[in-house]
Symmetry: C2
Subunit: 399 residues, 2 copies
């Protein structure tokens, strides 16, 4: 076979949804940032220093010693029951009971978005998203061809009063990230959570609460989840990617049983089940309270990294550049002067071995071009200073 | 929260595709067969005796000792490059070169079907399937709402001459399982493979070659894959579920690069990537030729199990019942007298603690009700005899 054979490959007719598929900016940028000389504020990668490697090694060994067949054979689509029970118990309390029968284990939280797309999103029907919102959710939902309706936000996140009958008419779902949102790092305040939970209780569609970062509040003072406020009206997505390790790809969906049942059917057609072995590793590591001591360490690490980023921004950025002070999570959201296009800035930055994610792809509609997302958890503080100082110089040159 | 709260959960509007979703007969039956007293010929589960537990245990431990960060961090959507290279090399030879850039690692072969559905299947457009075909493929593709066109088959499988311009007009793909097909156990003969490969070379759509069972030919004399005959016109699906262990959920798609690229985009939106850890375990176990000694053991085990099943059928079944003699794989396909409905037979069989899968759900259209699938790899021979003898008595009672 030679190149002429390859070129002769027929142009097969793709589905409409596949024709519309585009590669994400994050993905293309991550390719560049694999070069070790690049200071990358681009990836949403958790800090490897937080991975409990020895605990996982012991867990993997014990599982393959004592329960190998269970870990290696086909298993139930819903997931490993002891893990489902553990998740249900973790979300129960204060008068709220989440049942294991509401929990579906997913192959990472990204798969939860795909399953929700399969079961709730229809071509041309509106779905409500924050302005801006998680790029990966837009990619997942877009395969099911909804029309997007953006919900207005401010510095505190989604504005519940904006959810008027006019805006929400005909919507199939509202997708929100209340904790340390990707990309803005914002946390929805308690009063707004109450208002949003009340909205969910009367809405004819579910509010999807995507919560990968909830455990990462620096002060260790989490706000209540929407799930805890309106358990039968919220679909809650959780993940072990940020508190254990993302390479295991273990996440979950908590949903009322009738929707849960449809999600299970969709998952069965999608990948039969999440790997039995990785589910059991997660359970083995978390079952005896490991996260109670582990999460505070991750919080402290991320808080220190965030402080280093905020200090560097304050020291280096020219007037006219603003940013938020995250109370948790992995991201800070930067607003440039209106005439500075973050995509063009990225090209110049990458030439100087600094990377970030431009803000535009996080908008479902009407992208804002003077925003950018900085991830601060994996770069050592000295390198944060170097990278931010280079970015500041590039911005100054454009003023 | 009490039952009244649960009942008060709103009836959210589901997508059209979700409304059509039905639970598979296999799934419902598997629930029954979890009872230890049931002799189950139902599941497509590989024999746990074939799982190389100690090799996997050593691999898992070495990976978490030497390359933990790589195994636990986010990784490339395409998959772990050394595994992709190994797969490409395994499918190369005899003048055919498969490139690592054609290989996408999937979360089991089932996910390959979902990704093909996303990228190639459009609502109302025809796709071609064998009569009968793998139930799980029908479930996956149906989420993307094609119209099905059944390709005629006989005792040797798909009949290439039946692929007339009339039958194939407007089709987006042809889905075939040439080796030890699920559910019939049939293997497509060499001459038909040549004809099907030639068809693929001129067809304006891809032929999907699903090949989970190819390594399991009892005589160790595999027939060439369609991929090897028309590498730029075939999309080949492979799996480690039947030669290593299904609980790891590691499969793959080999496709021409332009389609590969679209499949990667779809997978990114679907689950970001297959777990890094399980991919590395598979690579660690197979990289030094382990399968060359392991697969012959699995073949011998399955051949002996198949012989036990065929002997039991011959000893017990009344006249008017027929079945094929598989040359490999996990299934035998039984034809009952025309007036015996295998779904009703199943109800009676389960009451006597014997299970199988009725044939009807394997037909995309016009289900045949006097067929059933027997899986023989996990039941000890004495139990095979007991189960077949009970089935035979039930059939005899209906004659």
């Amino acid at each position: 076979m030679d190149q002429s054979d390859i070129k002769a490959a027929p142009a097969w007719q793709l589905s409409e949804r596949a024709i519309k598929l585009t590669s994400s900016a994050i993905r293309e940028i991550l390719k560049v940032t694999e070069r070790p000389e690049v200071i990358s504020f681009a990836g949403g990668l958790p800090a490897p220093a937080s991975f409990p490697v020895e605990e996982m090694r012991a867990a993997a060994d014990r599982i393959l010693r004592d329960e190998a067949i269970g870990a290696l054979q086909y298993s139930a689509t819903e997931g490993y029951m002891p893990l489902r029970e553990w998740i249900a118990a973790r979300h129960s309390g204060n008068g709220v009971t989440i049942r294991p029968s509401q929990v579906l284990i997913t192959t990472g939280s990204q798969q939860a978005l795909d399953l929700i797309g399969k079961v709730l999103v229809s071509p041309g029907k509106p779905i409500l998203v924050e302005t801006p919102t998680y790029l990966g959710a837009l990619q997942s939902f877009s395969l099911y061809e909804p029309s997007y309706v953006q919900v207005p936000t401010d510095e505190s996140g989604l504005i519940p009063e904006a959810l008027t009958p006019e805006l929400t008419a005909g919507a199939r779902l509202l997708y929100a990230i209340p904790n340390f949102q990707n990309p803005t790092g914002r946390r929805l305040p308690l009063e707004r959570r109450k208002a949003l939970a009340a909205f969910a209780q009367s809405a004819p569609f579910p509010v999807i609460e995507d919560d990968p970062y909830g455990a990462l509040d620096y002060a260790g003072q989490p706000l209540p989840t929407l799930l805890s406020m309106a358990p039968e009206h919220i679909v809650h997505l959780g993940s072990f990617s940020k508190v254990l390790a993302p390479g295991l790809r273990v996440g979950y969906i908590i949903a009322p049983e009738d929707l849960h049942f449809k999600l299970v059917q969709a998952k069965q057609a999608t990948d039969l089940h999440t790997p039995s072995f990785t589910q059991r590793i997660v359970y083995e590591v978390v079952k005896n309270g490991f996260l109670d001591t582990h999460i505070p360490k991750v919080r402290a690490l991320y808080r220190d990294q965030c402080d280093a980023m905020l200090d560097s921004l304050k020291r280096n950025m020219p007037e006219g550049v603003s940013w938020n002070r995250p109370e948790g999570g992995m991201f800070v959201w930067v607003t440039l002067p209106a005439n500075v296009d973050s995509m063009k800035l990225l090209e110049e930055a990458v030439a100087q071995n600094v990377a970030f994610v431009p803000g535009a792809p996080f908008f479902a509609e009407e992208p804002q071009h003077n925003k950018l997302r900085l991830s601060f958890v994996t770069v050592p503080p000295a390198k944060i200073e170097e990278g931010v100082s280079k970015l500041a110089a590039l911005i100054r040159a454009r003023l």
